[in-house]
Amino acid sequence: MSGLFGHVKKNHSQAEAADETVDNKAEPPGQAGSEQATAEPQATEAPGTSHEGVRFSVGIDLGTTHCVLSYADLSKDEDDIQQQVMAVPQLTSPGVIENKKQLPSFLYLAHDAEIAEGSTALPWREKAEYLVGDIARNLGSKTPIRLVASAKSWLCHAGVDCKQAILPSEAPEEVARISPFQATQSYLQHLKDAWENQHPDAPLAAQDLIITVPASFDPAARELTIEAARSVGLNQAQLLEEPQSALYSWIDNSDGDWRQHVEVGDVILVIDVGGGTTDLSLIAVTDQHGNLELTRIAVGDHILLGGDNMDLALAYTIKAKIEKAQGQRLEGWQVEALTHACRDAKEKIFNQVELDNVPLVVPGRGSSLMGGALRSELTREEVDRVLVEGFLPEVAVSERPVVRPRSGLRTQGLPYAQDAGITRHLASFLARQLSAVDELEAVNLPENASFLHPTAVLFNGGVLKAEVLSQRLMKVLNGWLEAEQAPVARLLEGADLDLAVAQGAAYYGIVRQGKGVRIKGGTAASYYVGVESAMPAVPGLAPEVEALCIAPFGMEEGSTEVLSDNEFGLVIGEPVRFRFFASHSRREDKVGMRLDYWTDEELQELDEIEITLPEDGRQQGQVVPVHLSATVTEVGTLELHAVSQRDEHRWKIEFEVRTGAS
């Protein structure tokens, strides 16, 4: 997987006409047992090969709040390959279709009486099954009980079954709910239809397709994303982590000049603050036979904290101000309108240095514009206090996010971050990853370092377009570095923070053809199954659990690890469940290691995994000795198998057995 670095060569065979049939690279892997062959078509072609018949490299940023599709025409000459973001036709209100670069990741379950016949037609469909995009967000802002939002965050939410119809979680009984998986499918289907409408001669299923996921996505969420893509016919889709994609986009934008901006020994911190999530990654720059090499060395936790929280925080500040000054309670729709007004006002304050306050007006809902208008203003002081101090407080690097015990009566919902201080999350991440560069010769941390010292920072996500916020982040980070006499980190400029992820994904498609630098990644965590330790049972106490490492940190795509020394007896026909753990910081654990003690910070428990051995000519109740094997597919997902000790028969272990016992 190395050796792809160095200067771009002009060697690819020009992909010719667009409309050849797909040379379907998806083949079931030979090792798959018969009962699972249908479930896992898997791309097996080696990365970096050039594909005949593929005309475009397409990247889809499947965001929490927005989806973006970017593409590059591979049939063009090397130097002419241009990234383009596709304008996605979508309904904005009933009967009205607009082309927008972003497809809001919202889905609206309309009531039959709500929508006039024929007013949900799209250029490719008479009647949309589900309303997605701008129209969903617009209708949903007035009828939240029918709005599905943040489906992506649910995919990574331990404790719920993502294929169960659970959204919208606040909907009354009569609303036919859908699953987070279906919502993801719908967004992909919309993008696919939009693409095929604009490129009738180049079906999306025949193009190189990269879908981005947060680096912090667990194996089950990655699997679900790939499965959703396959279910809409996009069998060739591959996954790429968003922070890596942002870095690819930066490399692409630098027009080959990126080597001048980084050097061997650099540690690039990618901070991605999106609409709904914050994602952190560390990428090291090392030397490989005289060429620069990039290796993703660490990823952070899945933090549900983003730009939407900021707008909401401002709206609630203004709400409190109005209620205090005018003594009137604001209604839900007013808060909603206030949130919109705050979003625009905040951007004005960020962009215009001389502006100290922006008036906010929420007009009445009736046809009289003057009567009942709500008036207030957003001041620079409030923005500084609520956003800058609230979300990016100047804290010491030793501070950690505050975790309050959840109240027992919490309704089932997303596990939003309890501490809004992004800088505290960052401090915690860097401190935990202190040992991430231990194995790299090029990176030398001083003895006294209490956290990993990044030398460069790349921002991503629309939130950080605001200079006030990005400068504050740099200031806090550099403050930490200076306190430990380390050189300050520099900001890597020139990325389009809104579209970088999609563009980077499309660029990655080009990289995969061997035309640019590739970031080495591998698994973002090490994985463990819980096994009962062999000790005498103590009445009243659950047996102690040991964590058995089944996949180490940084396993590369296409590699397999086998735990042949650890034998399990599985009973035919009976589902067996394992507790399943992941660690973002224990990178030295090897396959087969057993941990009998760990801290909550080291190992996070994921959803249980389940194996059911089908009868298949065997007798029910029979015990089959198996060992476990872990594979990282070329697509970028983790697959676990139970392998029979006797005849090498393999059974796939399912991730998506979310017990719902949260």
């Binding site: 036709p89 904005t92 209100s93 009933p94 009967g95 009205v96 279709i97 607009e98 082309n99 006039a116 016949e117 024929g118 007013s119 949900t120 037609a121 250029p123 490719w124 008479e126 625009d344 008036p359 007006v361 007009p363 809902r365 046809s367 009289s368 514009l369 003057m370 208008a373 008036r375």
Partner: protein, 220 residues
């Protein structure tokens, strides 16, 4: 009665005389004319049908693209506005009310434009009107920026002296005041002019009633 209409084939001329040749020729000419007329009618009809369909990207899909709206302010004035822009009959002929209604709908949606215009201004003080004006201005600004690309026709400073060479575009620049003599003309630029260089109005589904510029809203 005795049948007197028996056709006697022997009476048929056995040789073609000049009159019959002329007769046959004229029949052929007339038939040819008839065919040409019919064909041209057919072509004309099919062309019209295609035109009406050409608005949609694909025939089976019910999207009606609305014609670009007439560029409104394209006149650069050199003193004060005296008359409306010269009508462009070809554009006007093809324009449907849909585009205008659609623009009204957008202005209402984003800027509460109709609400504002229909409001009785006398009932409110300037402070209230000022508050409302913010909503209207912000929304209108958003609509104009989102759906149109506006450019100024002249880049010179307003109030500065400019010289118009011979053959200047009279649809872009309107002369006023003391118009005598021959080009080049020198005068003061009063208004720099606006031109819409791009229009991106949303498309509408076929059944969409653009005349409803704001739906009634009922909260349950």
């Amino acid at each position: 009665m005795k049948n007197t209409y028996t056709i006697d084939l022997t009476l048929m001329p056995t040789t073609l005389d000049l009159w019959h040749v002329a007769l046959i020729a004229s029949i052929l000419v007339l038939a040819l004319v008839l065919i040409i007329v019919l064909l041209s009618m057919l072509i004309g009809m099919s062309r019209r049908a295609r035109q009406s369909r050409s608005a949609t990207a694909k025939p089976e899909v019910k999207i009606v693209e609305v014609e670009k709206i007439v560029e409104v302010e394209r006149i650069v004035e050199v003193e004060k506005i005296v008359q409306a822009p010269a009508p462009e009959p070809i554009v006007l002929k093809e324009s449907t009310p849909d585009a205008a209604l659609q623009l009204l709908g957008l202005l209402q949606k984003e800027a509460r434009f109709i609400d504002f215009i229909k409001e009785d201004m006398n009932a409110y003080g300037d402070a209230d009107i000022g508050i409302a004006a913010r909503v209207v201005h912000e929304g209108c600004n958003k609509v104009i920026n989102e759906y149109f690309t506006l450019e100024t026709l002249r880049t010179e400073q307003e109030g500065s002296k400019i010289t118009l060479a011979k053959g200047f575009n009279a649809t872009e620049v309107r002369l006023t005041g003391n118009i005598v003599g021959e080009a080049p003309f020198t005068g003061t630029l009063i208004h720099k002019g606006w031109q819409v260089s791009d229009t991106r109005l949303p498309k509408l589904t076929r059944g969409h009633d653009a005349s409803i510029v704001a739906t009634a809203e009922v909260e349950l």
